[in-house]
Symmetry: C2
């Protein structure tokens, strides 16, 4: 149960989000030798409206394991930087070719393609600079860098995106469900899992808690992706803030496209239950992670 004064998970994460936005802005400031336009493009994509789900997860995992927001904030910023870079590159004409993101022109529309490619590269690099330079002690910083790189790289997020693009336009069969879960497990799930593990690493969590965070993250990540697919089919453009029906137009595999809307919702419920189940080692300290999982299930229904 949330402790009194009882506030909803939405209010709770809103507060965290405001602190995260201040911390992100401070780590991407103009005037430090970065070309002004490049810095502007980085800030445009990093500080624009967004859920900040991944950095919120870093802070919630760190709190659940007993660490302060202050200790975990560099890790929270680094995962959001990776997320922002991945959106910039995914939106490029050669990739998903999107012109609207979070209700605004995508980076290459607001600037140009070269600037967008470089702003993405710079944010990806900055994520590691922040982790390596700010996380203490250095032993934990190195472990965080290794965890983030593994999740963000060719066997994680980038690999998932590559497979997602490679299979666009193919006719969907029900037996593709395993492949779809594998793609999303890497494209979205790997970074959600990394966010949780970074929170645990910063807090010096024991193996049982690290395993629990990993399990929770796997379920939450997939549940989050399925609700994203559902929103793409059913949400309202103004609420979601990006062009809808895009997945279908691109011929992308989606959960509702493959197993229908009711079964997709069922799968989300099952995954959220499993996510909450995984939090047992935390007892009361896992309440906010639990509330967040239940919120993912409910969002925009």
């Amino acid at each position: 149960m949330l402790q009194p004064p009882c506030i909803s998970i939405v209010q709770y994460t809103d507060r965290l989000r405001r602190r995260i936005d201040v911390a992100l802005a401070a780590r991407c400031e103009p005037g430090d030798g970065c070309p002004p336009v490049l810095c502007e493009a980085m800030r445009y994509s990093l500080l624009g409206p967004g859920k900040r789900l991944r950095p919120v997860l870093v802070l919630l995992a760190a709190r659940a394991c007993g660490a302060s927001d202050e200790a975990a904030m560099p890790a929270a910023c680094s995962v959001e930087m990776i997320h922002a870079y991945s959106l910039i590159h995914d939106d490029l004409p050669a990739m998903d070719n999107d012109d609207l993101r979070r209700g605004r022109p995508t980076c290459h529309k607001a600037f140009d393609q070269a600037t967008a490619i470089l702003a993405g590269d710079a944010l990806l690099t900055r994520a590691f600079e922040v982790l390596a330079g700010e996380i203490e002690p250095p032993r934990v910083a190195a472990a965080c860098c290794a965890t983030l790189a593994e999740a963000a790289g060719a066997c994680g997020m980038v690999g998932g995106q590559a497979d997602d693009i490679a299979h666009q336009g193919e006719t969907a069969h029900p037996e593709d469900l395993g492949r779809l879960e594998s793609i999303h497990g890497r494209k979205t799930g790997a970074m959600i899992g990394a966010a949780l593990r970074l929170g645990g690493l910063v807090a010096g969590a024991d193996t049982a808690k690290m395993v629990a965070l990993q399990r929770y993250g796997r379920c939450l990540g997939l549940a989050f992706q399925i609700t994203d697919d559902l929103l793409d089919v059913r949400g309202e453009e103004a609420t979601v803030g990006k062009r809808l029906g895009k997945d279908v137009a691109l011929g992308k595999l989606t959960f509702p496209g493959l197993i229908g809307i009711p079964r997709s919702r069922q799968r989300v419920e099952q995954l959220v239950s499993q996510a909450c189940e995984a939090l047992k080692p935390f007892a009361g300290a896992g309440e906010h992670l639990e509330a967040l999982a239940r919120y993912v299930q409910e969002r925009n229904r």
Copy 2:
């Protein structure tokens, strides 16, 4: 002086290059969960023909400071991964739009743009995974990650590339020399400096040696860039392995374009002298770094 059996710096670095290529291939192997096409594109760009100047510098700096090749090899691989990623992204149509690199089709020509963007992202990420996961002790690994990220990021290599593109097509004035040196100091020099410092860090070098490596790197990096510009104007296509006269066609600032060929050569000589001067703290242990600087001056004359 090179120790007997006396071999030339070319033979000496050729041996290092072969060891580096084996180490690079081992750190970018197929079959570990990376989508096959993505892995193929990464290997195409990482393992293709190349001078391997940056990883050679890591090993030479480490040797000059008393570390083994084995200890320094992960750092050597990481700088070459950053270099390979930067070439892939720089060659993209939205950037320098090059179709030939090291005598072969560029990555986006051999594969496609989406794969090239993702292969670049994956190599950039893998560089940090290798550093963070393999350099010992973790304290040094964290310092290496911070050094690499700073050099490769928005205030270093990526920023230099952004400025380089931003100023294409402008009419050149002699007073642009400072800006040109600033662009190349970041675009090429920052990573050459980082390569040398990583070698020093792995070896636990003292401050005097780290400063010396930094100074040597600054001079070598600029000398290297000027000779590159000279080769673009005067070299033979088959020797250089990329389309020549490209800089002029793109309206890029170059040293020969700005100060003429004789003064560009003079500047190289001056920089190489300064680079060798900087090596004094190493006495005999700096001989290979010195020979390499002299070789940069001589290449393809």
